[in-house]
Symmetry: C2
Subunit: 883 residues, 2 copies
Amino acid sequence: MTSNKWAYSFEDADGSNKDLFGGKGANLATMTALGLPIPPGFTVTTEACLRYFEDGGNLHNDAKGELQEQIAMLENRLDKKFGDAANPLLVSVRSGAKASMPGMMDTILNLGLNDDTAERIAKLTGNRRFALDSYRRFIQTFGDVVLGIDLAEFEGILSKTREAAGARYDHEIPPKALEELIAGYKEVVGRHCEKGLPHDPMEQLYMAVSAVFASWNTPRAQTYRKLNGIPDDLGTAANVQAMVFGNMGDRSGTGVAFSRNPSTGEHKIYGEFLINAQGEDVVAGIRTPQSIDALLELMPEQAKELFNTIERLDEHFKDMQDIEFTVEEGKLYILQTRDGKRTGAAALRIAVESHEQGYFDKEEALMRVDPSSLDQLLHKQVDPTTTAKPVAEGLNASPGAAVGRVVLDPERAIQLAAEGNKLILVRNETTPDDIHGLDASDGVLTAHGGMTSHAAVVARGMGKPCVSGCSELTVDEETGTVTFKGYEGVLKEGDYLTIDGTTGKVYIGELALVDPQIGDYFAKFLGWADEVKRLGVRTNADNPVDTRRAYEFGAEGIGLCRTEHMFMEQERLPHVRAMILAETEEERREHLAKIKEFQRADFEGIYREMHGYPVTIRLLDPPLHEFLPHDEEEIEEVIRSVKSDVTEDEVGRLKARVLSLHESNPMLGFRGCRLGLIYPEINEMQVEAILEAAITVRREGEKVDPEIMIPLSGAKAELAIIEEKLRPVAEAVFKRMGERIEYKFGTMIEVPRAALTADEIAEVAEFFSFGTNDLTQMTLGISRDDAEEKFLRQYVDMGIYAANPFAQLDQVGVGRLVAMAVELGRKTRPDLKIGICGEHGGDPPSIDFCHRHAFDYVSCSPFRVPIARLAAAHSAIREKRGE
Amino acid sequence: MTSNKWAYSFEDADGSNKDLFGGKGANLATMTALGLPIPPGFTVTTEACLRYFEDGGNLHNDAKGELQEQIAMLENRLDKKFGDAANPLLVSVRSGAKASMPGMMDTILNLGLNDDTAERIAKLTGNRRFALDSYRRFIQTFGDVVLGIDLAEFEGILSKTREAAGARYDHEIPPKALEELIAGYKEVVGRHCEKGLPHDPMEQLYMAVSAVFASWNTPRAQTYRKLNGIPDDLGTAANVQAMVFGNMGDRSGTGVAFSRNPSTGEHKIYGEFLINAQGEDVVAGIRTPQSIDALLELMPEQAKELFNTIERLDEHFKDMQDIEFTVEEGKLYILQTRDGKRTGAAALRIAVESHEQGYFDKEEALMRVDPSSLDQLLHKQVDPTTTAKPVAEGLNASPGAAVGRVVLDPERAIQLAAEGNKLILVRNETTPDDIHGLDASDGVLTAHGGMTSHAAVVARGMGKPCVSGCSELTVDEETGTVTFKGYEGVLKEGDYLTIDGTTGKVYIGELALVDPQIGDYFAKFLGWADEVKRLGVRTNADNPVDTRRAYEFGAEGIGLCRTEHMFMEQERLPHVRAMILAETEEERREHLAKIKEFQRADFEGIYREMHGYPVTIRLLDPPLHEFLPHDEEEIEEVIRSVKSDVTEDEVGRLKARVLSLHESNPMLGFRGCRLGLIYPEINEMQVEAILEAAITVRREGEKVDPEIMIPLSGAKAELAIIEEKLRPVAEAVFKRMGERIEYKFGTMIEVPRAALTADEIAEVAEFFSFGTNDLTQMTLGISRDDAEEKFLRQYVDMGIYAANPFAQLDQVGVGRLVAMAVELGRKTRPDLKIGICGEHGGDPPSIDFCHRHAFDYVSCSPFRVPIARLAAAHSAIREKRGE
């Protein structure tokens, strides 16, 4: 579509054509069409922008002509004139692309000011300081964005002026000094630009519109488009709008209002305003604005019109609106409306109530809430009214806030927690050995490690707040001290800290927290999500407590029950270690029998809390050395503690064996099903525990649906050999207990080869669960633990990966492999059950991928279950809508 | 095809129908048809075998009838009778499937013996001991393979008999004792089998043929078929043949002959025989056989017939034959002929001469030599006539033999080698730090590590013998001693050892070695290979010496020139370390400039030796910590040595930096192109060195064809960013030197994601080189260094992988990924050059895979170049033949 018309008044523009008028222009047209009191103006189209580039960066003469016409229309209508000393017309110029984009020119206010008009405005407003300040701001902005002059040059003069005037803030500079400042500014402009600041407002306008167009192609905007797949040939529009003034006296004012409360979502107009003021005054914070309700008394007529307008906008856009308004000598103007930012709680309530109001159907209500924003509802938050300043900031690795005493040592944490202390575990980094310390603490703070570091992953799994990669933090374990860069104090064990894992902020002392806000809206809303979603949502849980929580959050089963955390618990670890150190199968079986008692009890608890939903239990996965210390002395100690009457020779031999368990790349090492193939008795024990527990719980009257999952398979033969060994073990359990129970036998797909040979794997496996953490590591050849700080963040910055591939599934690479595996697997076994149990299972874009590839379910940590339910609903709705 | 006939005499059978008669039966039919003196007999068909299974393991009555008929015909023809006390007919029964297969019943000799006929044979041969011994052997074999009696039961009695007779060997047991032994054997049989040993030879025959059939379905045979893709419904045939006796007096004898010399390939009959003897006598080693030439004097007529027959067989089968013959009372019988086993040198000469004799065309000649057998020709061997006994045996990790003095420490090795010593580096295992020690030694022996351990891989690359995983070996570095289990002596530095990497044997002292046998046949033969092969064969070489060797072996370029070994050399390492420890880009560039001088000289040498063939140079790949020590003290030492005037604080900070380079999974860590993306100046230096050297050598009049290869890429963006940085560097070199040179820019495909997104990668890369070592590690999720001893060998034993996937490309899994990448890459860039540079590039089945997937070349270590040339020719010929 091309047109011969380059500029449209808001009346003539089409609010539905964002391609031509950009987002901002289209909205202005819409509001104008609604008959709302919008300061008049016009939009220069995106086509004019494209033409501008075609013409080598020159504004077309026709376009200039149209600008003149539009300005003339404005002049007539407002009875003001561009450059007129009696009643000067001033306008704002704003860029407005189809989608908003960083790096583009934003706004020039008060275009039309020159020495003459500035004087006139001073008189009209009775506020000379204001007029001069507006003028100097205009010169500064124009110089910067239109003429490309370094802002520092202006700021240098500004700070000198401030100094000379003895002013701390800009608004304290007296009019006289402002005059000198303006003279100085003009000198700067003259130095860069022969012609100096254009006196003619029309010339100013041509240049400003050209600058808006040119800003479409700043490097930052280009990079942003490249990374976000926005075509280069869209172009931007430019909006020119008459300025109005809220500082023309007591019958003028300016303010901001929301159609609903942005914190709670309550349907009640919310906002604030200042009488006889411009927008800048609110920002400067010199005067305290009044609540919007006060406007009803001060300007009852305008307030009524405003409130009505706000309601109309809410109704029209069917969303909570964030509105800027100005009253100029008793006349109300709406300067801008946009969908308002809101908290997760507000988003949810607004969506529910808007639906109930008849704005839209349930599906649209669901689409109106960003799944990730639900996170806020599920965790404690630092009281938003706090005035405390954070001492440091790290990565917001696991949401929620926690207050507690500093503890550095995981063992101490267990002890202190037992004494009833709330704790924040503060470490340089955490390792799997620290799990119990983490479990005993209310939150964790680390100096190193990224969003997917050990501490972050485990904390998210446990639903505990975590701030990781806090580079200002130094933990000196030797002296037991904690310091922060730029903070003079030194913290020790027992001192209080507050961390906010939602924002990454760290505070000294005990801050007030506010509780999670799960209420009726939450349950109702997620109920709607369940009605439309196709994907099942399960949880990753290893114990009855997490299982219950996930069930309450709506989990429809367990997608991943790891058994190794059970092995790590204090009372069991000695048996596990003794099992590993066993020198005969018989000895190994003896210790396994003890571990089995614990495992069976664990499984019983988990089945009970899952009330008949499927429970997928993964057999032992980590390399055995993870259960043993790495230090030679500690190894000896362990050997002596688990083996009685051990000779020196035996200690030496066993120590050598433990050391030989060490691997140069444990990620690719002797773990997963490889363990079970070399030591089948471990698998056997686990299968017995799984099935015995299942029958036991069923006898209590509960339904039970166990699924046995083999980790790290890479070849069909592995599964075939394991299955061949395990089926008879199951039969023996059934015989012993006098009853059978159904169970499924399946595998994780986490080794690329398993995905590549999924057709063969599916001959044995009854279900696949994509372990996308390891699958991503192996497919990308990137060790998650090592990479984040060494190169992965820079990779994301360079745009090599669009997002951290351990947080968001790499759909281009890993996704291709997953899609292939799904296709191959279902070719062999059409009813193959397919799920995902990596971290990605709780990430909305990754969940969408799973939906599109016909997964049966996603599985995520308990606290992400609601997010996954909503994300799954979004996917189903998008599919329905053909998006 | 079904037939109503179950048994065919050798005259009636069809030598071309191996489906029906099995391999052995068909060959017997062929020889009979040729009119050769074959002891008469018949074959029971594979269909009879299948019918046997259909009938639930029972020999069909019709088949029994046919056996009777065939026996009757034999009796008539030989004037002997089954069970006849005057002139008893004895037969052998052998299984004979289409392809030979382990786990199946092999042979029963002398069937027809019973108390009566044994006595008669004793008289006829005049050798009572022989007759009785044959009888007891018959009972033992029949008891074992037909009746399923545990051999141990027989052997218990045998050893008691030996003891009682004061005999060390079986052949020293006197006839009297043998009689008692036979009685004992019969008692054993009677205990297991009500009827006892069947007296009736016909009954014996039914049972033996049934046992042959049943052995088709032993578990071992079934597993073998499953693993080798042999259908279960082929069945086996059974061959029944009249026994002849070489021990009937001086006009009798037995021997073995080859139609050509199996060691050298010379076309001259070679063999040995014994007068008045049976085959067992040769095996027992009591009498020393005579050379076959002596037969011409002792039995001129029979010798002439034998020699003529041998020549006819050589001509008929068009291959060197290994023949067993017996002369029974002046009558020559050929018992068996088969293609003879031969050395690599013999295979090659036989193939060449057979072609020149007109047996077959060049292509068939090429197909007659197993590519892997060429290995023997290229390396020194232990003199095959040695009587020395090995002290230990390990894995034959890198072929060839070496004699040298024991050295334990790599640094000492450099020193001792400089003094002119031949050395064997003896280590528990080797690491990349040991490369120079390895380079200074003539061979390497390790206690740990498999076929793909570091020592093995490096030694193969250098063409040095290596015996790895020698579990009898203990190296005590503290005391500087080397011991072998079962050997009382203790070796120290300077003591002599001989290792044979072709066999894995280790000898104390200096053994005589024989030189490699590359001669005219070799060059001529491989010239033929080059005529037919389609794949190019390149080499992996990092220095001029290896490059020259590979060029002499026929390499057509370098497929992988690693640059890190150059970084490791003693004079450079300090600069490399200083570069890594540099704290600013400037400082880093300073040290890089020094390294560049070395690199340029290396590249010049390599280009000169490659004479215009393409040279693919891989930019720096290993993680930086590989260039630094891991021990804290050593790190400090290095820091002080490369940084002058360093403060304690700086040392501390640098040490922390070095330690922070440590990674939990270095394989998946900060290496490959990731280094070049974070420190682009390393790449820049290397590209300058590559191109400057190329232009320098071209100025000497040599052609040069450099290819720049980026390691470990996983995303198109990585390559795009690197290319964007490197192209200007190349232009700057051209400008500086005043001339341009063509070069290619490509990448290794070793990260699964690179293969999955090969269509995108090929937008930037002009060539792919599959780094199948790392690709296999990541695709299988198996760390080569860790896995072999922990589980991979057991995996191969269990049949999970058909072969070690690091030695032979896993075509099912990794191969699928490679095939996909080739297809995707060529879709984007049809002229994409594709090669392989992993260890698999020298493995014939993997080479065949590359041929079938239209690779342009394979690249392997210099010593495997001839193997690869022949393997590539095989692939081309197989393709032509539609195989």
